[in-house]
């Protein structure tokens, strides 16, 4: 029973959830570019400040300069957390093996020890970030329910994956943890395009969006006055 359930979540359900994530992310990424293009077409001034966009994008990719002025510990943790979060699921040997079995595609994997420590650090950083959301005043003030839930949701596949890979648990428990591991991962896949985690594909576009954001279309005054019935109204 458990094994057939596992086969289902590893097979058809995984494919469905993965497809939802990829198609969802493709949709929002394409929409972002398409809408940006439409905005550019409408803009009165079509020059785009590429130099500034390039500079700000570099600063975003390598944020070392900024870190020294900001919450240093929180910022460093946040960056390292992203390293583990991205590398472990993609480059874990066991994950690549699954891809290889089902699709024949494979790629180099992380050494076991590195994967081990990256998993541990990601789990610790997730807990620290959750703790920060609960106790650090400005972070707490901004946090909404989904901000806490996301950290917990991300913690589940990392913790269960770590248990399955590194601890000696009974076969029944192993299957149970593996089921939770895969299901939580799939839930994350499905939610990514519809939540703030969409930043995984949108964030690289942010500087271009900001560069275009001040490119207004001409003659909006007249159009808005007409729509709001304010033609000839006093300022």
């Amino acid at each position: 029973m458990m094994e057939s359930l596992l086969d289902f979540v590893k097979g058809p359900l995984f494919r469905l959830c993965f497809a939802i994530m990829i198609l969802g992310l493709l949709r929002i990424f394409t929409l972002d570019i398409w809408n940006g293009y439409k905005a550019w077409r409408k803009a009165g001034d079509k020059r785009i400040p590429w130099k500034l966009i390039r500079r700000r994008s570099w600063e975003w990719i390598f944020p070392f300069k900024r870190i020294k002025n900001n919450f240093q510990v929180y910022s460093v943790i946040s960056i390292l957390f992203h390293v583990g979060l991205i590398l472990v699921p993609i480059f874990l040997f066991a994950h690549i093996e699954l891809w290889k079995t089902s699709t024949g595609i494979s790629w180099p994997s992380l050494p076991f020890t590195l994967a081990f420590w990256l998993t541990i650090s990601t789990i610790i950083f997730l807990i620290v970030m959750l703790f920060s959301r609960i106790v650090v005043k400005p972070i707490k003030a901004l946090s909404k329910k989904q901000d806490y839930l996301w950290l917990i949701l991300l913690l589940i596949p990392f913790a269960t994956g770590f248990i399955c890979a590194n601890l000696n648990v009974s076969p029944y428990n192993y299957h149970f943890f593996m089921l939770i591991h895969i299901l939580s991962g799939e839930l994350i896949f499905v939610l990514i395009p519809f939540s703030k985690i969409a930043h995984c594909v949108l964030a690289p576009l942010s500087q271009i969006v900001c560069g275009l954001a001040w490119s207004f279309p001409p003659e909006t005054d007249d159009a808005i006055c007409t729509t709001l019935n304010k033609k000839g109204a006093r300022i």
């Binding site: 500034l52 900001n70 703030k196």
Partner: protein
């Protein structure tokens, strides 16, 4: 750079409202700035109508879509915000401010939000939320420093700009800005300070006499000269309050011999549209463009004013012809250019005080003008010091985003808004602070006065005027009257 939190006493002073209780009751809006009478009924519906109209005709929708999808609420912007640094109130965190509008957008203009509304029943936007936005958006100085810190790249300044625009469409906008704009666009004087042409001409004539008296050079403020290289638009308040800045600019043009003029049809660079309405923004830049074209000028030259320069530089191409728009030049760029070409000579022995330069946000945040004025200043100010941080990471004077023009919130500006700037000025120990922006100058003067800092606030051209060296051929020998002969000799000896 960090600052200490304001004390309870300072808080009470900064947030004390001068708006009369009966007005607050009538307007059903507890904000500290004065608002003209407006329809206070059914505000949420009208807010959403205005929001929808703006989204329909502008480019904001794709920006909001992008920001609303990925705002991560990490709070890194809190460190960059000088308002939050001073108050420590979570409401002042830039991301919190942006979320006020982003949430309205999500709930009323996206499919997911609308479904959520249907399930939970009832709308999201209420009068209380409008109240919160009306307060929050005008607490911000729109300096856009927070945008540099946001790992998601969200431009919180743009969201504040849009929030104010929507609020203005339902009548919620500081009266000080509306009255000035009304005079500028619909009044007889056609400028925000209400200076009629004859008064302008008199003032300029008076300044010309002054300059001749001081420099023995005939320096003119040319009016309505057609085919000039530069048509000049200062912040019009300079004609009343910044005579030395204007004299410095006129002196630079006298030294270089380039053709410039002030048009009497329209001579105000101020554009409060940047602070509260894109519709106003468009109308004002059109006026600047029309006047320059009337005089067949080659370039639009903006005086020492950050927001006026940025609006012209960014929005003249937007609203007035795209690629074919007239070039916009800031006086800081012009002066730097002629100094570099060796056409402007400055005496390095005149300014001996400790001088520092304040970056106006509208020049520096986008890295447009940062080093040019510094290079000029360092060439003739022996005792130049730098404040930290500078450039695109500069600290706002505390009166940005139009707040400096709202006199009733001065205690807020000088206690909260400018607190970090005051600390920075104190730390630098400068005796003269150069702020090439009409808004920054007004705010900084009020700030040093209220914070009791011994520092003089001037424009770049104020110092240039003092140090400029004219070619011998331009200096005219004054006719010495026999009765004053002894006196003049004495004066020359002192000089």
């Amino acid at each position: 750079m960090k600052t200490t939190r304001i004390t309870d006493e300072e808080r009470a002073k900064a947030f004390k409202s001068s708006v009369k209780p009966e007005v607050l009751e009538k307007q059903k809006l507890n904000v500290r700035y004065n608002i003209e009478e407006f329809n206070a009924d059914d505000r949420p519906r009208r807010f959403l109508e205005a929001f929808a109209a703006i989204l329909k005709h502008s480019n904001y929708k794709f920006v909001l879509d992008h920001f609303a999808r990925m705002s991560a609420r990490c709070s890194r912007c809190a460190v960059a915000c000088q308002i939050y640094q001073a108050t420590g109130d979570p409401e002042d965190i830039p991301c919190h401010r942006s979320e006020l509008l982003l949430e309205v957008y999500r709930r009323h203009f996206t499919l997911g939000g609308m479904l959520k509304g249907k399930i939970s029943g009832g709308g999201y936007l209420t009068d209380e939320k409008i109240q919160e936005m009306a307060q929050s958006f005008w607490n911000c100085t729109a300096c856009r420093r927070c945008a540099l810190e946001c790992p998601m790249g969200i431009d919180h300044g743009l969201i504040t700009h849009l929030g104010r625009y929507i609020l203005s469409e339902i009548g919620i906008v500081p009266r000080a800005l509306v009255i000035s704009t009304r005079e500028q666009l619909e009044g007889a004087s056609k400028n925000t300070s209400g200076i009629p042409v004859p008064a302008l001409a008199d003032t300029l004539e008076f300044l010309e006499d002054d300059m001749f008296e001081e420099k023995s050079v005939k320096i003119k403020f040319p009016l309505d000269v057609e085919d000039s290289d530069y048509v000049f638009f200062p912040a019009v308040s300079d004609f009343l309050m910044e005579a030395e800045t204007l004299m410095g600019i006129a002196a630079v043009f006298r030294a270089t011999g380039d053709k410039w003029t002030i048009g009497t049809g329209y001579y105000d660079g101020i554009n409060y549209g940047l602070f509260y309405s894109d519709r106003i923004l468009e109308r004002v830049v059109n006026k600047v463009d029309e006047e320059t074209r009337r005089l067949n000028g080659k370039n639009i030259l903006i005086g020492e004013c950050g927001h006026a320069s940025r609006t012209a530089k960014t929005f003249i191409p937007t609203f007035c012809g795209g690629k074919n728009a007239l070039p916009v030049v800031s006086i800081l760029e012009y002066t730097h250019k002629v100094w570099k070409e060796g056409r402007l000579k400055l005496n390095p022995d005149i300014i001996t005080e400790k001088v520092a330069y304040h970056d106006p946000c509208n020049f520096a945040r986008n890295r447009w003008i940062i080093n040019q004025p510094r290079e000029v200043l360092k060439s003739f100010c022996k005792n130049y010091v730098e404040m930290t941080p500078i450039g695109d990471n500069n600290i706002c004077c505390g009166g940005g985003g139009g707040t400096v023009s709202i006199d009733e919130i001065r205690p807020y500006r000088t206690t909260v808004g400018g607190k970090l700037k005051a600390d920075q000025i104190r730390k630098s120990g400068c005796e003269i602070l150069v702020a090439p922006c009409a808004n920054c100058k007004k705010q900084l003067r009020e700030l040093v006065e209220d914070q009791k800092i011994d520092c003089q606030i001037v424009g770049l051209h104020d110092l240039i005027y003092k140090a400029i060296v004219f070619d011998e051929s331009l200096i005219e020998k004054k006719e010495e009257q026999p009765a004053d002969k002894d006196n003049s000799a004495e004066k020359e000896g002192k000089g």
